[in-house]
Symmetry: C2
């Protein structure tokens, strides 16, 4: 018996999120079904980051204890043979018996893609948010730079942990052009509040469309006392633009 | 009444190709249904390029005659309001009354994406072919360069037109890296044989994996007499990696 860490990739379109729920198709539920076929019989696997319905992953991390007498690559193959087409195990490694993918994580990295166009685009909208009017690249960069550092993100999400703090440290945040009128946001932080990335993308797009001033964002990062709630528009960027890229330990 | 040219984009995953067929969901069928709601009553729209089930498009072209008293952008909006989420009209323009999207086309441009990895990857496999072992970039480039020019492509597809010739002129063909271990092929030609792009990609991947020599490809381009059929492996790259990008007039 050993504890295994696996890296998961999934197309989130047809999952009701990462965490197991009764009567819903979830990443955790599908992984546990595949593990049962390999003789696993624990109550549940551990998962690093909760992703909402529709959110994708290229580097989600899960862990479980398994009696497995073959090579790691064979475990990857055996699991993938039992997983649906929209979920795959990319890697498997033996880790310390007390490894916990969520509590041991040092940072999470997400990316979010958006493009600006007045007309819808079925191919690009599979994994990117179409938003209009056009976003200004310099304003996106300015908004992202405000996020870097340790701030109180209470205006941008709800706490998930028992401690209830809304202070998070963002190590990296920035936008880069990926093709004509399309932008990719990357953000790495020690941890994220619930829906924080989608909320941050929504607000940055509002800044880059001239609807919100960067100053209001800067004030909001001072915590609940910073800015009257009414000045920061409500809203979330849609789930299908978001991908969990990496969890570091 | 005027003839309109429209640029279509679609995610091909849930279409049985571009051409109308009885009892199948097709691009042409869905466009005609949307047009009927705007008062169009002709027998069929004209479409530039036939795409197979699963093949995507960002620049497919269709044409039809319509009585429309509003602006072109209003026609785009009215059609998109009646089209399913995986099909959109990107642009609409009035053209000459005798414009034909297929017979007037000067060239077609396709792109094909592949990536090399031993393990499947649900997100990337939506629009790219996973092939393994790894492809060699220099061999891909060498294979693509052979295609440029006027050749008899009989070994790479079947004729679709009434003339039955298998000679085609390729203006551009080349591969570029798009991200780690991922490649994008672009090819532009006056016209393509049936399934020619997928066949060319399959053979080039075989060259880049060291399974077929570039010399065999060069000989095959001399036409049916060039190479014994047995030396060129049978097979097609899968439809989901292919996108019709542009038709020029």
């Amino acid at each position: 018996m050993a504890r295994y860490q696996v890296i998961l990739a999934y197309d989130g379109a047809h999952f009701m999120g990462s965490q197991r729920q009764a009567n819903s198709r979830t990443v955790q539920g599908e992984l546990e079904k595949a593990l049962h076929k390999l003789g696993w019989s624990d109550r549940s696997v551990l998962i690093a980051g909760r992703t909402d319905a529709g959110v994708h992953a290229s580097g989600q991390v899960a862990a479980f204890d398994l009696e497995w007498s073959h090579a790691d690559d064979d475990l990857v193959r055996a699991l993938n043979a039992n997983l649906p087409a929209d979920l795959a195990v990319r890697e498997a490694h033996v880790v310390a018996a007390d490894f916990h993918p969520r509590f041991d994580a040092l940072s999470r990295r997400y990316c979010y893609r958006l493009f600006s166009h007045p007309v819808r685009d079925p191919l690009r909208e599979k994994t990117a948010w179409r938003t209009w009017p056009a976003v200004d690249g310099a304003l996106l960069a300015q908004a992202a730079s405000l996020l870097i550092g340790t701030h109180d993100f209470a205006a941008f999400g709800s706490p998930t942990g028992p401690k209830g703090t809304t202070v998070r440290t963002v190590m990296k945040a920035g936008w880069r052009p990926v093709e004509e009128d399309k932008w990719q946001f990357e953000i790495q932080a020690d941890a994220f509040l619930y829906r924080m990335v989608r909320r941050l993308v929504f607000i940055q797009a509002a800044v880059a469309q001239g609807r919100v001033s960067a100053q209001v964002v800067a004030q909001s990062l001072a915590g609940p006392a910073g800015v009257p709630a009414g000045e920061l528009p409500a809203g979330l960027a849609p789930a299908h633009g978001l991908t969990l890229v990496e969890v570091t330990y």
